[in-house]
Symmetry: C2
Subunit: 219 residues, 2 copies
DNA sequence: GGCCAATGTAAACGATCATTCAGGGGATGC
DNA sequence: GCATCCCCTGAATGATCGTTTACATTGGCC
């Protein structure tokens, strides 16, 4: 009987990462780390695991990254930056109507979290293993995304196009934005591709719900 | 320079667990495990950590629990069972109108996830460290809660009191239910007590948003 | 060919982990 | 006094971890 059991996450329902071409080793390490972190969680994935999945030995990691920590930060930061870019782009390209902005934001956000489930999973779940200085820029990016959404809500309310829920006479748009973001983010935990609803359909469903939640006027 | 760094979660914003009375040791262990798991995560919290927080040594754990795994399952299962009970009770006590049922469900669910943030955090985030047979009954309870909500939505739609969003002519009430649950569950990640909004106000805000999302007829 | 920088291997290092085990009180019942 | 629990301690066990180190192997460039 073994004395120590390494905790193993219940196998996530994620599509296997198919290996196409011989990749540059840094990219291979990143890809292996993504899928391993997503499936089993950062603290229990060993450097040996990651490197074995690339057909290398453990020591080789340190030719490309300073530490296991830095590897995690690298893959999370790149995912997060890409997400922020997508959100900005969606809002900027949706015209002037706050309703179109909100719908475009939610659609883009949801489609991305369906399509890149693994990356979203890791970026959202494993961030807390980074230490303070590493986590700073990622939290900043998250706040930026939230503030984009808050901005759209404020604009829509002031234009009289949104009638957001009020509690005791006050409307707390920050809480509303957080609620919408939680909803859209955690779809990556359970959405299964190839099911009854496509990624684009989920995007439209969530956009519809968001518009209803903030009381968007029709027409 | 130390060779191995134990990963530490960024300190969560959780109220400290105040120690009132000398508790029976099993209860003290449970409470210590809750706060430690919530703050730092199951795999990096050691048995030594938990027991030291109770003023005991590591070996004493095994007089009360078979293993560290069983301790985690114990505290998650009790939290989950309580949550299921609360949801059932809320719906049952809300009368016949599906709108009242939905509002009561969301209010109870949100208030609980604000008030017992720590317990909710652990139950939702650390469940995946359990092995298959341990996780079975918890997944069952989660499905049961989701099905309570789906049931309310179906009833409201058939009664013509809900007009849920349709995508390409079909309405996927299961996805809508998941979206609402995600929203309400993850409030435990960021809600800070003592802020501008009380737990009850958050409950009403979320209930309002849920009613709007499913297109509940007013009046 | 000779040199250099990249990139790999294999072994070692120091530390920490969950769990087990032999034994020590202290209460309770007799 | 004595046996029988329960609950604890403190040390040991066997394993695994992230990282470092010494040393190969490669391929381009002079």
């Amino acid at each position: 009987m073994s004395k120590r059991k390494v905790p193993v996450r219940a196998a996530a329902v994620v599509a296997p990462v198919v290996e196409r071409e011989p990749r540059p080793p840094v990219e291979a390490i990143r890809a292996a780390a993504f899928s391993q972190f997503a499936e089993r969680g950062y603290p229990v994935v060993t450097v040996r695991d990651i490197m074995k999945a690339c057909g290398l030995t453990q020591g080789a990691l340190y030719n490309h990254f300073k530490s296991k920590d830095e590897l995690l930060h690298d893959i999370i930061a790149s995912t997060q930056a890409e997400l922020e870019r997508i959100c900005l782009q969606a809002v900027a390209g949706a015209g002037a109507d706050p309703r179109a902005k909100l719908a475009a934001f939610v659609r883009a956000y949801v489609v991305r979290h369906c399509r890149l489930r693994i990356e979203a999973l890791v970026a959202n779940r494993e961030i807390s293993w980074l230490d303070a200085e590493q986590v700073g820029d990622i939290r900043r990016s998250r706040r930026a995304i939230r503030d984009i959404l808050v901005g759209v809500l404020v604009q829509g309310k002031e234009a009289g196009l949104f009638d957001p829920p009020q509690i005791d006479g006050r409307s707390d748009l920050k809480s509303v934005a957080m609620a919408l973001l939680d909803q859209c983010t955690h779809i990556s935990l359970w959405y299964v591709p190839g099911g009854r609803m496509s990624e684009e359909q989920m995007g439209r469903l969530y956009a519809d719900m968001a518009l209803r939640s903030v009381g968007a006027k029709v027409g």
